[in-house]
Amino acid sequence: MKGNARIVESLNELLTLELTAVNQYFVHSKMCENWGFTKLAAKFREDSMAEMKDAEDLIERVLLLEGVPNVQRLGSVVIGENVPEQLQLAAETERSALKLLQDIIAACEEEDDDNTRVFLEPSLREEESHLDWLETQIELIRQVGEQNYLAQQI
């Protein structure tokens, strides 16, 4: 089924962001594991896998719309050197994803592509919940202190 070119290009843009996030969260997870913060490592790993699943769904959608999934592009993979930095950078990535998703959903409305809009809406909620979790962690660190927070992540 031939899709709208503008929508296909936007989906590829989102695919780039998802693939970048997969790598970012995966490395964050492995760094946390290496430091002994096993709980955070598990959470980052789970998020990385969730972004990979999103990438899979996007690739399928682009193919269904007869586009070419662009897996060549990757954004800057921003890796934090410590846990608070990792959480901040992950929150930035989620904010970018949310903004892009909102823009694409608006474009879907303009181009009368209801199916792609419906396809994207669960991702919007998922990214929102990721961002909410990250903001909670950042706030926890602010309130209880970095050491107290990290002691709970072992």
Binding site: L17, G75, S76, V78, G80, E81, S96
Partner: protein
């Protein structure tokens, strides 16, 4: 955060080098190694130099996507 993943150079080290007088990407590369492998971080390095010289917002608060 790591600015240059190829050489494992963090923003702190880059900022220190800029403060110590590195005013272009080549000089930063000589001082820290940053930007001398794949080169993908060179635009970020340029921005960090600009921010230092013009007193713009901190790289940690950027959104470059």
């Amino acid at each position: 955060m790591y600015v240059c993943l190829c050489l494992g150079v963090g923003d702190k080290k880059v900022r220190e080098a800029v403060e110590a007088g590195a005013r272009n990407v080549s000089a930063l590369g000589r001082e820290t190694g940053a930007g001398t492998d794949c080169g993908q971080c060179r635009p970020i390095l340029e921005r960090m130099i600009d921010q230092h010289t013009t007193g713009g917002p901190d790289e940690g608060e950027r959104s470059d996507r």
